[in-house]
Amino acid sequence: NAGVTQTPKFRVLKTGQSMTLLCAQDMNHEYMYWYRQDPGMGLRLIHYSVGEGTTAKGEVPDGYNVSRLKKQNFLLGLESAAPSQTSVYFCASSYLVSGRAAGINEQFFGPGTRLTVL
């Protein structure tokens, strides 16, 4: 199992350019997430998905769009990049447990994408 993979690992954009970050997981997880991490700060949730074909806004969704057309993939798009979007982006996935311990379970994280917007 590769776990959670992200492409690309690094990217430099100019203000106003667009790009798509790809996240893939091979663990058949229902839930997928996109976070951004800025220096000295924790992880802030951008968007997430609770299943194929669904997406929901997180804490900082503005300026980003997402799609989950296939269960194993979660795409994060920047339509018009801004310097404020310079950050490290992490994708994660988790599964849902049923029964007595019902609920979401631990998240598995990808290695991150370092994005710089000039």
Partner: protein, 111 residues
């Protein structure tokens, strides 16, 4: 919105000593809590978790304590080693939909 906070943003301990990292949370409805370790240049890595029906859980050299009355979570690392140097995040589930992360505590292990 819901929040998670940490009492100490940085922690320095001597090698071999025990480390305690604390976390306060605000969502009393949360059912699931996790501690993550993040090394430089890497994604967060799961350490240990605990559900709300427990108040203590032990792993290998790590123990998580949950006090629901005061909404407090702690991570104890026994016999801290140089390899434990990292940033540690607590997180809790947000109504079963996603997770809220704390800002992190940097643990430095002194030789």
């Amino acid at each position: 919105g819901e929040s998670v906070g940490l009492h100490l943003p940085t922690l320095s301990v001597q090698e071999g000593d025990n480390s305690i990292i604390n976390c306060a949370y605000s969502n009393s409805a949360s059912d699931y809590f996790i501690w993550y370790k993040q090394e430089s240049g890497k994604g967060p890595q799961f350490i240990i978790d605990i559900r709300s029906n427990m108040d203590k859980r032990q792993g290998q050299r790590v123990t998580v304590l949950l006090n629901k009355t005061v909404k407090h979570l702690s991570l104890q690392i026994a016999a801290t080693q140089p390899g434990d140097s990292a940033v540690y995040f607590c997180a809790f589930d947000n109504y079963g939909q996603n997770f809220v992360f704390g800002p992190g505590t940097r643990l430095s292990v002194l030789p």
